[in-house]
């Protein structure tokens, strides 16, 4: 009596999966006088793949960095998994979140950066295994096992002992993807992860991301200039301009029938690509 059975608990969590996993509410970000995000609202469903497109300087990176807790919103709220990310309740009052609160929720989010940001003083294996050891508290053995699995997944099982400087850009970025994935985040942020790569290395990185996306469960926010990739991988495309979500929709709707003139003008720069045909 009284205690719900395990099955009931699971049923309850199942029924909650329709709740957004990430919720931006009126989120604004100013850098001094410059407002780079303007009251953005955005709900992301669990497992959803969202591609964020838009001109350079429109606020796409900032949108991701706010969720990764690298940048504090100037106003508005962000929820992750139903809980406020940047605020916490102290004595019934909402106050800016402290480091402990952030640390608690940050673990649900992972990010891959444009510039890879691998740790140059560590081997590939240690790059991936270090956070599981230092942050999750796994044993060295367990962490390395997990790390090796992840590195195999991104096709780098033979580079465990290499240092980042010995790898191509594409390989480095795949290590960075493994390093983020090994922490088993619920939401992965990819910020123009192929922009710093030589054109011939872009494909291998996009392939890895497509494979992860195809597995289904991972929620992904992908800032990208690769329109073919966005169309292929995303459930929803978001077009940001001047700090606002100007238009959003399925890849089909947004690429084939953009309604907003700014979306149209932005997409016209990619006309050469074959996205229109399919």
């Amino acid at each position: 009596m009284g205690m719900p059975s395990k099955v009931e608990i699971e049923t309850e969590t199942d029924s909650m999966t329709d709740e957004p996993i990430v919720r931006y509410r009126k989120v604004a970000k100013n850098f001094g006088e410059l407002q780079v995000l303007k009251k953005v609202d955005l709900d992301i469903a669990p497992g959803e793949k969202i591609a964020v497109i838009g001109p350079s300087g429109s606020g796409k990176t900032t949108l991701a960095r706010l969720l990764m807790t690298l940048e504090r919103p100037s106003s508005g709220t962000i929820e992750i998994d139903g809980e406020l990310l940047w605020h916490e309740k102290v004595n019934g009052k909402l106050v800016p979140a402290g480091e402990k609160h952030l640390q608690h929720h940050r673990g649900k989010i992972g990010m891959v950066f444009q510039q890879f940001n691998l740790f140059p003083h560590m081997t590939v294996l240690r790059n991936v295994a270090e956070a599981p050891i230092q942050v999750l508290g796994l044993s060295q053995k367990e962490a390395q096992k997990r790390a090796k699995q992840m590195l195999a997944k991104v096709g780098l099982a033979d580079k465990l002992d290499a240092f980042p400087s010995q790898l191509s850009g594409g390989q480095q970025q795949r290590v960075a993807i493994a390093r983020a994935l090994v922490m088993r985040p619920k939401v992965m942020l990819f910020d123009e992860v192929t922009s710093a790569l030589d054109p011939e290395l872009v494909g291998e990185v996009l392939t890895v991301i497509k494979e992860i996306a195809a597995e289904g469960e991972m929620t992904m926010l992908l800032v990208t200039h690769e329109m073919d990739f966005a169309r292929e991988v995303a459930d929803r495309i978001i077009f940001i301009d001047d700090g606002k979500i100007v238009e959003q929709g399925t890849p089909k709707a947004l690429f084939k029938h953009p309604r907003n003139p700014r979306t149209r003008s932005f997409l016209s720069r990619f006309r050469n690509n074959n996205w229109k045909d399919s």
Partner: protein, 217 residues
């Protein structure tokens, strides 16, 4: 004129005193490494009064002569506070804090050279502040500073004769005692100079080589 016999006669005493010189250098430098790191970190504190106080302390120590600081620690402190140190302890503290303020700048340059992306990657992986420092930032920030640190070690070594002013019987003090006992200063002082040269020159060659190797990487 130079007297070889006398030189050989006093050499063992001076060589014995080398141990004190080296011990004071190593102890002082070890303290300077710790103090320097602490100052570099305190200076970065987000708590402004603490960071300003640290900067003030660094500037104050750097703009006053080491000799006065040594006198202060050895002679003034015991009389005004009752805390007293042996000459060796006072020398270590004086050298450690004085050079610590210089080394804090060296640490700082090393830390400032770490790209922002390293901090951000550590945050994204949810490293705690402490682990970010110990696993990510310092292991990258410190190796490039080793040659500069080495140069400070050599500079500090050459400043240890100052400790004779607070009665530490290191090489120079030993030479002075011999000189006043035997009325011959030429040989003892020359020997002291030669011993400093014999130790600091190879050390500076080593530092140059380290510097070169780091540049190659």
């Amino acid at each position: 004129m130079w007297d070889w016999e006398f030189a050989f006669y006093v050499m063992p005493d001076i060589l014995k005193a080398i141990r004190v010189t080296i011990a004071a250098t190593l102890a002082g430098f070890a303290l300077a490494l710790a103090v320097g790191l602490a100052l570099a970190l305190l200076r970065r504190s987000a708590f402004k009064p603490l960071s300003l106080a640290t900067i003030g302390f660094i500037e104050f120590v750097r703009s006053t002569p080491l000799l006065i600081q040594l006198f202060f620690i050895f002679y003034a402190l015991p009389l005004s506070t009752g805390i007293s140190f042996s000459a060796f302890q006072a020398g270590t503290i004086g050298l450690g804090f004085h050079y610590g303020t210089y080394l804090s700048e060296v640490y700082r340059s090393g830390i400032d050279a770490i790209p922002r992306g390293q901090w951000e990657a550590a945050t994204a992986l949810n490293f705690s502040r402490l682990r970010t420092w110990t696993k990510i930032i310092l292991p990258q920030a410190i190796p490039p500073t080793v040659p500069v640190m080495g140069n400070y070690l050599i500079a500090m070594f050459k400043e240890t004769p100052l400790l004779s002013a607070i009665t530490l019987v290191e090489m120079l003090q030993t030479a002075k005692i011999i000189g006043s006992d035997c009325y011959r200063y030429l040989e003892p002082f020359t020997l002291v100079g030669i011993f400093f040269l014999l130790l600091s020159y190879p050390a500076s060659v080593l530092v140059k080589r380290l510097e070169f190797q780091l540049k190659q990487q």
